[in-house]
Amino acid sequence: MTVTLTSTGLEIDGQHIPVYSGTIHYWRLERDRWALILDRAKALGFNMIETYIPWSTHEVYPGHFDWGQEDPRKDVEAFMTLCEEKGLWLLVRPGPLINAELTDFGFPEWVLLDPDVQAKTSVGGIHFDAMAGLHPPHQFPVPSYASEKFFFETGKWFDAICPIMARHLAPQGCIVAVQSDNETCYLFHDQPYATDYGADSIKLYRHYLGQKYTAIENLNAAYCTEHDSFDQAEPPRACEIHSRSDMPRHVDWIEYKEYQIRYAVARFARMLKERGLVGLPIFHDVAYQMSTPLDIATMEAEPDIDWVGMNLYRNKEDYWGAVQRMRYLAGTTRLPFVPEFGNGLWSHHPATFMPDEEEYITLSALLHGLKAINFYMLVERDRWQGCPITRHGTYRPEYAQFYERLSGFLRKYPVEQYERERQVLVLYNFDLFRQAAAATMLHYPHFDLLNLPNELFQADLDLNLKHDVHFEANYSSLENWLGKVMSDLAVRHVDYDLSDTHVAAARLARYPIVYLQATDFMSPQDQSKLLAYVKQGGHLIVGPGLPYLDVALKPASVLSQYLKQPGTVSIGQGHLTWAPAEELSNVVLPQPEYQCDQPLVEVTVLRRNGVTLLALMNSSGGDLESTLTFNGVREFRSAWGETQVKSGNSCAAFATAAYSIQIWEVA
């Protein structure tokens, strides 16, 4: 590759290029403002920008493309050339789906109105985007990502746009990475039985079953059926699980919904490569899902997808969720990346970010493992507000000053090259989430308008399991085992990464301690991977149960053969601990270098080449006084905000304002 992906950014001609970028939508800005706006972006410290290239904007009717000859704002090649003249790198996202709050999300209307393209809901109607979530200004039929016609039409769009992009690839040109599709996931109607039940999707589902089971006899054995061929397999349209033997058919549909996303993103990526976009990374952005139907670890393992990021739009009260997502990216992906880091918001969002929120959430993310960032949007535009630069090219000073300060800070402290001090990885259990998803109901269009309680969507199954699947699978709860693990780590100020049970074995080996969320069942393959980790010297802490069943709920004792009750056993060079929630506080963990007496102040330590940064994050709505304890004498010099110096012998006091962050260089 000419442009290489590294764990800290991109490498071009042997040079490290940080992914520190901001979005500018050329076609929404007056052409005579482009140069001024790019200059403004550079002045704020950006050497890389990002843009969508919207299909419907350019293909104004079938086969007729406007590349600026009719509307000068659409001259995308001139925009690329201008980026090159200004010395700006460019990330491009040519779709086919782009959203961007465009009418019809950037799909041409004639494509959406083609019945062979349209996805169908489980109840038989067209799947309109408005059926889950608010997406003004007009409802549109959602394409099925299994539709061959949709791939055919997309191929024609790529035929038109790829030659233009191919003329501008780095290092001679500005383009350093390309995104394959955008937030691919059933247009936010991502409940398993909501959609996609059209003919091409059912065909792909059967193809998936054929790949998985290889012979119909194997499927019949799993399903207790007597099908003659895979063509007789019908997907579930609702949760119809009455006994354990019903589970495989439902979980297979869940797996298929994951597979369809990976299949589509990888196929689009191949289509881009076939049209000359080679020698640079192809990436994808996940909207927000850390579990089924998104399987990020498996998606990154696809040979056609180099890199997967996850978007983030958070208000300051959502600190915890933002930080967990960054930990997940840090624990799971090659280069922890937020392709859409919300600065500013879409105009139908109820809580436009204020400048202090943008500062708080951005710093929180960077201090929790984020190493590549694209601010979406750097420049305001139709249907978007709250950015540092207006669409006319003027600064919004109350927003812009943060980005100016941030780029100065990152020049001095290139955070993407710092390493957080963490020795612990916490694993979500992917099988648990799949089974929880299988046991859900009421996936009807517009369920979101009724504000029904979450529990109402959970099917009550009696499968004689020891652990409640829905209770344990809730990764926002502090009451279940996973929540107790995170609370325990927070109280002890132990920093950690997150991933799931599909994480690569090589990545596990980076952490001396791994927590595994587990109940009654788990894939024997994943259990074997974790057993190998233990044998090689890792410490695996499992709970609330130790799995004794496989995902079909049949006996499997990969881990449970070593322990019959909670406790610890040595295996090979490592240890396996079965720790129910009430015993988590007894687990011996490495003592952090800095102890804080205030649980609501999070402490993170980052190091690079002998430089230590210490961050204190007050995630509460009130001002807090806290004391840090440590060994020896330390001097703290503020690295963010007003210049301050303080020192302490074995302890130091810090006053942190509500929802604020302090960063100190420690000597």
């Binding site: 309109f128 409802q139 517009h446 009724l450």
Partner: protein, 265 residues
């Protein structure tokens, strides 16, 4: 009403943050209100699929196998006094709503029309979704038909504006441009066409704004008011009396063309 190609531009972030609470479609559709203690019974043509009490601590152990008369059941359960609201939902009704909403012809509706269709399908006065007490047929005494009536009285091309002030601080400065009954542009007092302005709650500013709105589209109505007057206008049953009172006591200034006065009264 919502033009499928509308422009939403030059949004002052503070205005947009303060308007955010209105951008929440479920509040206009749902029966369940935030903080309510609710009992939900989901059935499939009478066969009970799920019973859920939102208050774990006060679960009253309701056991129901069949729903024969949804309305009678909801009334009877609500009369027990345990719950703020009882919901009896036939999941086949939700499936039917989804199926009918997914008709290809509905693509041609404007978004507000589509949501109105979905609303009408959900609350079709059948026993598909029964709530006791029933969901009010208005939101804070506002209804879609009132809004449609107001819009229908606007000239083919028109602009309207709302300014809400907390002391001298502008909390909301909103401008809508209409063309043939559709919202063509949403913007704020930041719009370049309105510059330079210094917003304030005064007749002088109203005069200035009225004049400058003409560069966007002929003004049809402008309301400038205090935050308190605005809050009262949102919630009060008698909107016209509230407006009149606010104008009389100096907490609002209002100007409109004659055609829309009946819709404001």
């Amino acid at each position: 009403m919502i033009d499928p190609q509308w422009d939403v531009v030059d949004l002052d972030p503070v205005t947009w943050r303060n308007l955010g609470r209105f951008i929440d479609p479920p509040q206009y559709v749902r029966a369940a209100q935030p903080g309510e203690h609710g009992l939900f019974i989901v059935h499939d043509q009478g066969r009970v699929v799920k019973v859920f009490d939102t208050d774990r601590a006060r679960r009253s152990g309701v056991k129901i196998d069949r729903v024969v008369d949804a309305r009678a059941l909801a009334k009877e359960l609500h009369a027990r006094g345990h719950w703020d609201r009882v919901h009896v939902i036939n999941q086949q009704h939700l499936a039917r709503v989804g199926y009918l909403a997914g008709a290809s012809a509905n693509r041609s509706l404007h978004l507000d029309g589509y949501y109105q269709l979905v609303y009408d399908l959900i609350w079709d006065r059948s026993d598909g979704y029964v709530a006791e007490p029933p969901k009010p047929d208005h939101w804070n005494h506002w209804t879609m038909s009132q809004l449609e009536q107001f819009v229908s009285r606007l000239p083919k091309s028109a602009s309207i504006a709302l300014g809400v002030f907390d002391g001298t601080r502008l909390n909301i400065g909103l401008v809508l441009e209409f063309k043939q009954g559709n919202i063509l542009r949403v913007t704020t007092f930041e719009a370049p066409a309105l510059q330079p302005i210094v917003p304030q709650l005064s007749t002088d500013f109203l005069d200035q704004l009225w004049q400058q709105l003409d560069t966007i589209a002929p003004p049809a109505a402008v309301l400038l008011c205090t935050q308190a007057a605005f809050e009262e206008l949102i919630t009060t049953p008698d909107k016209a009396a509230c407006l009149l009172g606010a104008v009389q006591n100096g907490s609002a200034v209002l100007r409109s063309i004659e055609a829309v006065i009946p819709a404001l009264a």
